[in-house]
């Protein structure tokens, strides 16, 4: 048991270090700005007095490392300062939006994970048949399509031509849960299609890899019935790759969400990020990037830790 704990602990520590380095990158990237933030806010025509005043107000007269430490210690308590465009608190701007994004991602994941794993296993069992090849071509096409292409096709058919779901996923107060599910169905479906293709291919590869291993061959040769080969011999070893696939694709979901939110005008954090980038609202950009990066790292971490925990060989050290 001790082995597992040290392995997991090491992995967690590494994740923390990477997160710290990323916060450094995100903060000091803005320092590279030609001029500085005050210059960017006031534009080229600013007078030196105005610039100096704004610099003092934003604390830009202090050395960068001091500001970084202050920013980091506030960011840990989820306080990212205030927007330089609207003066609102960043936490207020993105707080609720983050929950919306999480909801959308969870909605998509709940549909995509079981369906794609089952499909992946089926395709792996039927490998090299005509169905496998057709599934391969279709999933490759979905992976290669940009998210906005799938999104607009769904809008064209489901919203405009057939009128089954709304084209714009706007949220309002006091909606019932069912209404919410119906409103956000199209963006969720877009995400599902993209992620499902990825997950299916990865599951298929993992299972095929597994079925080629000697102990499966051995089980077959000793005459075990096919279901027993799958359930008793293949499945316990398949958990690690499958958990890996799921976590990696959830991480992918988190970034795919940006484009989908823009297509469907969904009030999520991705949309906030895109708006902030075009307005050059750096505190919001930094906060969104940090949140996205942290989620991404967390999910990758979960993939690794899951793989360690489900590996039977590590549970029984020699």
């Amino acid at each position: 048991m001790g082995d597992i704990l040290t392995l997991v602990g090491k992995r967690l520590g590494l994740g923390l270090i990477i997160l710290l380095v990323i916060s450094l990158i995100i903060f000091f990237m803005v320092e590279l700005l030609p001029g500085d933030i005050a210059q960017a806010v006031l534009g080229q025509s600013a007078t030196p007095e105005n610039l100096a005043a704004l610099r003092r107000e934003m604390g830009l007269d202090q050395p960068a490392i001091v500001r970084y430490l202050a920013w980091l210690s506030e960011a840990i308590t989820l306080d990212f300062g205030s927007s330089i465009v609207t003066d609102a608190r960043v936490t207020e701007i993105i707080g609720e939006r983050f929950m919306n994004t999480l909801f959308l991602a969870a909605y998509a994941a709940v549909i995509a994970v079981p369906v794609s794993i089952i499909l992946g296993v089926i395709v792996a069992l039927l490998r090299n048949s005509i169905f496998d090849r057709v599934a391969n071509v279709i999933s490759l096409s979905f992976i290669s399509s940009p998210e906005f292409f799938l999104g607009y096709i769904l809008i064209l058919y489901f919203a405009v031509k057939w009128g089954m779901f709304p084209a714009i996923a706007s949220l309002s107060e006091g909606m019932t849960f069912l209404e919410l599910l119906q409103r956000t169905f199209l963006p969720a479906l877009t995400l599902v299609l993209v992620v499902m293709a990825h997950m299916m291919r990865m599951t298929r590869a993992a299972i095929i890899n597994l079925l080629a291993s000697p102990y499966i061959e051995m089980a077959r040769l000793k005459g075990a019935p096919p279901w027993k080969v799958i359930v008793k011999h293949a499945l316990p070893n398949a958990w690690a790759p499958i958990i890996n696939v799921v976590a990696l694709n959830l991480a992918y979901l988190i970034t795919g969400v940006v484009l989908v939110e823009v297509v469907f005008v969904y009030p999520g954090i991705g949309q906030a990020l895109v708006d902030a980038v075009s307005k050059r609202d750096f505190p919001v950009v930094q906060a969104c990037c940090l949140i996205f990066a942290a989620t991404f790292i967390l999910l990758n971490l979960a993939a690794d830790v899951g793989a360690i925990l489900t590996n039977p060989r590590l549970r029984h050290p020699k």
């Binding site: 090299n128 005509i130 290669s144 399509s145 292409f149 064209l156 297509v263 980038v277």
Partner: protein
């Protein structure tokens, strides 16, 4: 009614024929198409059936086209190439065909497009007529011409980005594999950090600082210069072996980087240069890892040991021993990398943060004309479909090459 009867009669005839001549997969395909059409005809009536028929017809046409294209290529190619090409699956032939078409479109864009890319010739959203094949966009520019020009602009940017990412990543990977030790470790950690930030998010962060419509030409030139110097230093680290050669090399690197930055900034404008650099930085770690792994397998071979004992330098090892033995996976990776870069650039342009107007570009065209979709028009989907088609095509070709180079049959 006649259509329905004819359609099913044809399908049944074909599937029975396939079954009779023992074409198992063809029979399965045809008969499942028959069953699907039957179900859809009951649910959706004749329109749905027509849709299925058109889709199947288009697939068939694409299949025939790629078959003919493959035969065409085998007829043209030399004996050895022809043997390889004959093993290519139809999907790969289709991919090559699409790449060929897009290349022709991009190279001869001014000759093919009937109007200029920024030329306003009619009212906004004018419907298609004899003059404009696909109608006008939101400013009254010819949609068809813009799609043709888009092939040139979007693909050229993506190609440049991929090439830069590749040079940086591959050079660092080769060096890491041959030198090992501290250099290897540092490069590996840097790659880890860059890869642990989602690519779209990282691109948005960098673009918010350097890029977009506010990009300054001097910044972009300096960034390009810096990038070129880094790559040059990597080359130098591989090739130089004495203090004198370091000094001479450094002078050459600075000169070449300067010329490179000048040449690049005269071809692309500031925001495009920054876009290219951003993608190059984001995707080089992937190339680095792959190159390092592939080259790492080659470095331990006996013939490398023999070359080292002969007294060959690092540069010779990389150029004459390692590179020729790792081309196949690297070429496939180049294709994959191009897909990622292309999709990222298209996504950024779609968000309005990539290629800036009035330059025609597939990603931003979708966004600009998206309002048409709510009227049931499919024109805005055409550039999006073009993006998808090109990416699928490259993926198909890469799939085949990977299969060929690994020699595995699963």
């Amino acid at each position: 009614m006649v259509f329905v009867i004819l359609y099913f009669a044809l399908l049944l005839l074909l599937s029975c024929g396939a079954a009779y001549y023992n074409q198992r997969s063809a029979f399965l395909l045809l008969f499942s198409l028959t069953l699907v059409s039957l179900v859809l005809a009951i649910i959706g009536g004749i329109p749905a059936l027509r849709f299925v028929a058109i889709a199947a017809g288009m697939l068939l046409a694409a299949g025939m086209m790629s078959y003919a294209f493959r035969e065409f290529l085998t007829a043209l190619a030399s004996d050895e190439m022809a043997k390889e090409l004959r093993t290519a699956p139809l999907t790969a032939a289709f991919g090559m065909f699409v790449i060929f078409i897009v290349a022709v479109m991009g190279i001869f864009a001014p000759a093919i497009a009937p109007h200029g890319e920024a030329e306003i010739i009619s009212q906004a959203f004018a419907p298609p007529d004899n003059n404009m094949l696909l109608g006008a966009d939101q400013l009254g520019r010819d949609m068809f011409s813009r799609i043709i020009y888009g092939a040139r602009n979007t693909v050229a940017l993506a190609l440049c980005g991929t090439v830069l990412a590749f040079i940086l990543g591959a050079m660092a990977g080769l060096l890491a594999a041959t030198k090992g030790g501290f250099f290897d470790g540092t490069m590996g950690r840097i790659a880890d950090v860059i890869m642990s930030i989602p690519s779209l998010i990282f691109a948005l962060l960098m673009l918010s600082i350097f890029g977009g419509s506010l990009a300054a030409p001097s910044t972009s030139a300096w960034l390009l210069f810096g990038f070129a110097v880094i790559v040059g230093t990597l080359f130098l680290a591989a090739a130089a072996y004495s203090v004198l050669s370091w000094i001479i090399g450094a002078a050459i690197v600075v000169g070449v980087s300067f010329a490179f930055a000048l040449a690049f900034t005269s071809v692309f404008d500031a925001s495009e240069v920054i876009l290219i650099l951003v993608v190059a930085v984001i995707y080089s770690p992937r190339v680095f890892r792959l190159t390092r792994a592939v080259a790492g397998n080659v470095v331990v071979m006996d013939y490398i040991e023999a070359a080292k004992l002969r007294g060959e330098k690092n540069w010779y090892l990389i150029r004459r021993e390692i590179l020729p033995n790792s081309t196949a996976p690297l070429v496939a990776e180049f294709g994959l990398e191009f897909c990622f870069v292309f999709l990222l650039i298209a996504g950024l342009s779609f968000l309005g943060l990539g290629i800036q107007p009035p330059t025609a570009d597939w990603g931003s065209m979708v966004r600009e004309n998206a309002t048409l979709i709510s009227f049931g028009e499919i024109t805005p989907l055409i550039p999006a479909a073009a993006i998808a088609l090109l990416t699928v095509a490259v993926n198909f070709v890469v799939d085949w090459m990977l299969h060929r180079s690994s020699g595995l049959k699963e």
